[in-house]
């Protein structure tokens, strides 16, 4: 391998050592060593994460935040330690991190809490969250459906209007046309596009939102795994994370919320474990984060997610970012050099993570994915839960390769070779 290295980049030997921690990466697929380039959909997990989950289940498993026995007390402690670990990983305080099932639930939690506030729930404290006719919610044409549909529904429930930051012909956010005005109450934007791999100029969006007093929701699903993330430095009100995209398990995600906001918000899901006093007619709620964690929690998953961010922290997010920036450049440069390939967003002058999507006119993404799979290369094909973005670019589906800290330049090159072979296969038979 001959990766372009900066002072921060891990060496090829470092990457091989990292790969040895990931059992699944040793797999063969269709007679070829697996080339896993679908980490943007779900990342593989290192032994350390698998061991942490299993270790908890074998030694401490019990109900947290209830019961007085020794195991329950110790389980509660490690569960809360896990919260602190993940909170610190993104620059938040311990009590500003709410466990959710996934990032989608985290976004819905915000949207439903706001609509509950708009119905008068949460009393005087939640007044600043209320929205209604005349108010506007802003998101972008680039978003994953999870950061679009909850806002469509919130607008429909409250009578507020949803406005969209449009994209230019390359797929970049047109901030000059951002409909952020005095009427804007909330702006939701993705940090890194899950289709284009570009790191959005979110500081500009956040500044525009701040200037009109709007809340800011950051979709950090594609940034937290790959870049150093500091929610305080970014000055966002909310951020959402997906555990399984950052070496953790499925079934766990997280919501970061500024403490004062979480304290003002009425609950979304209600039931056990989120209350102080309950009568047959009403209930009083715990302070955050427990207020938003009704029912049995995903305890072993949270502990495994903490092990995942510990693993990322040990490698170092700066080094991971440098490694993936190099892989991303190699991907985009290599793909751009192949005749007949359109790299989505190639013309956007922004930094990127290790992710690129392509359209090959005349060859459907499913067929591309099938040919690559035949060579043991795993990529994502389809609309990647971003139909409006694909529609804006004039296509319905694309083929996406996405890397992670364990990806190698050889794997990127195998993908590039596979794309060339795919074009030859369908072209030669034309």
């Amino acid at each position: 391998m001959s990766s372009p290295t900066t002072a921060d980049s891990p060496t090829d030997a470092d990457i091989l050592r990292i790969r040895a921690d990931f059992p699944l990466l040793q797999t063969e697929v269709n007679g070829h060593p697996l080339v896993y380039l679908d980490s943007g959909a779900t990342a593989q997990r290192p032994r350390q994460v698998l061991d942490a989950e299993r270790g908890f289940l074998e030694t401490l498993n019990s109900a947290v935040h209830r019961g007085a026995h020794t195991l329950a007390a110790e389980a509660t402690e490690v569960f809360e330690d896990a919260r602190a670990t993940v909170a610190r990983f993104i620059g938040a305080d311990d009590d500003e991190l709410v466990w959710t099932s996934n990032a989608t639930e985290a976004l819905n939690l915000i949207a439903y809490s706001i609509s509950n506030a708009s119905l008068g729930r949460g009393g005087a404290a939640s007044e600043r969250l209320r929205i209604g006719p005349g108010d506007e919610i802003v998101t972008t044409e680039m978003e994953h459906h999870a950061n679009l549909i909850p806002w469509q529904e919130l607008a429909a429930r409250t009578g507020a209007t949803l406005r969209i930051i449009p994209l230019d012909d390359d797929g970049a956010l047109r901030l000059d046309e951002a409909p952020i005005t005095e009427r804007t109450r909330l702006v939701a934007v993705t940090h890194v596009s899950n289709v284009l791999g570009v790191i959005n100029p979110v500081a500009d969006v956040i500044a525009a939102a701040r200037a009109v007093g709007a809340l800011v929701v950051l979709d950090a699903c594609q940034s937290a795994p790959h870049l150093p993330l500091d929610v305080r430095a970014l000055d966002v009100d909310f951020a959402v994370l997906s555990g399984h995209k950052m070496l953790g398990p499925t079934g766990v995600g997280a919501l970061y919320g500024r403490r004062a906001l979480l304290e003002a918000m009425p609950p979304f899901l209600t039931g056990g474990s989120m209350i102080t006093t309950v009568t047959t007619t009403e209930a009083e709620y715990l302070p955050p984060p427990q207020r938003f964690e009704a029912g049995t929690q995903r305890v072993s998953q949270a502990i495994a997610l903490a092990a995942a961010v510990d693993y990322l922290g040990e490698v170092g997010m700066e080094r991971i970012a440098a490694h993936e920036a190099a892989l991303g450049r190699r991907l985009v440069d290599g793909l751009s050099a192949i005749d007949g390939v359109r790299v989505l967003g190639a013309g956007i002058d922004l930094p990127r993570v290790g992710l690129a999507s392509i359209d090959i006119p005349g060859i459907h993404a499913h067929d591309v994915g099938q040919l690559l799979d035949d060579r043991g290369i795993a990529v994502r094909v389809g609309h990647h839960c971003a139909q409006p973005l694909h529609r804006r670019l004039g296509i319905t589906a694309s083929t996406r390769a996405s890397t992670y800290l364990y990806s190698t330049t050889d794997e990127v090159d195998a993908f590039l070779d596979g794309v060339v072979a795919t074009i030859e296969f369908f072209g030669a038979r034309a």
Binding site: H366, G382, A397
Partner: protein, 147 residues
């Protein structure tokens, strides 16, 4: 480099049909029609069943977009069922579905399916069975709407 299974799925006949599909283009006249969508990939088809005065299938007309397999399958289906009665078409759909869902265990009946039997190679690729079935599911739905 490409495996023989894959060569078989993308054999010449299938690629030919995907490039120059038969029956492509909807008609304005009233017909039993069905729109089907594969939400995982966004592949879409709108398919019309046009009948002759004697009730047999005069033509299948369709429009859509999708992978080579889904486009070829719609084209092969249009060729296959022209002139058939409605029960004959339904029988072909049933036989085709059974073969496609067999994970390669059941060879499609060439007597019944004609050229469309080449799509049997898709049944090894579980993730692609929906692609091959899309037009046939649309046809089944359209047939149900016939009086």
């Amino acid at each position: 480099m490409t495996s023989s299974e894959l060569q078989s799925m993308y054999q010449e006949l299938i690629l030919d049909h995907s490039r120059t599909p038969h029956g492509f283009g909807l008609r304005d006249e009233v017909a039993a029609q069905s729109h089907q969508l594969n939400p995982t990939c966004g592949d879409e088809i709108t398919l019309q069943v046009h009948r002759a005065a004697d009730g047999t299938i005069e033509a299948i007309a369709w429009e859509g977009h999708g992978c080579a397999i889904s486009q070829a399958s719609a084209s092969l289906f249009a060729d296959l069922v022209e002139g058939m009665t409605v029960p004959e078409v339904q029988q072909r759909i049933d036989v085709f579905r059974e073969a496609l869902r067999s994970r390669g265990r059941i060879e499609p009946d060439e007597e019944l399916l004609g050229d469309a039997a080449v799509l049997g190679s898709v049944s090894r690729y579980v993730a692609r069975v929906k692609c091959a079935m899309l037009a046939w599911v649309a046809a089944e739905d359209a047939l149900r709407k016939l009086d």
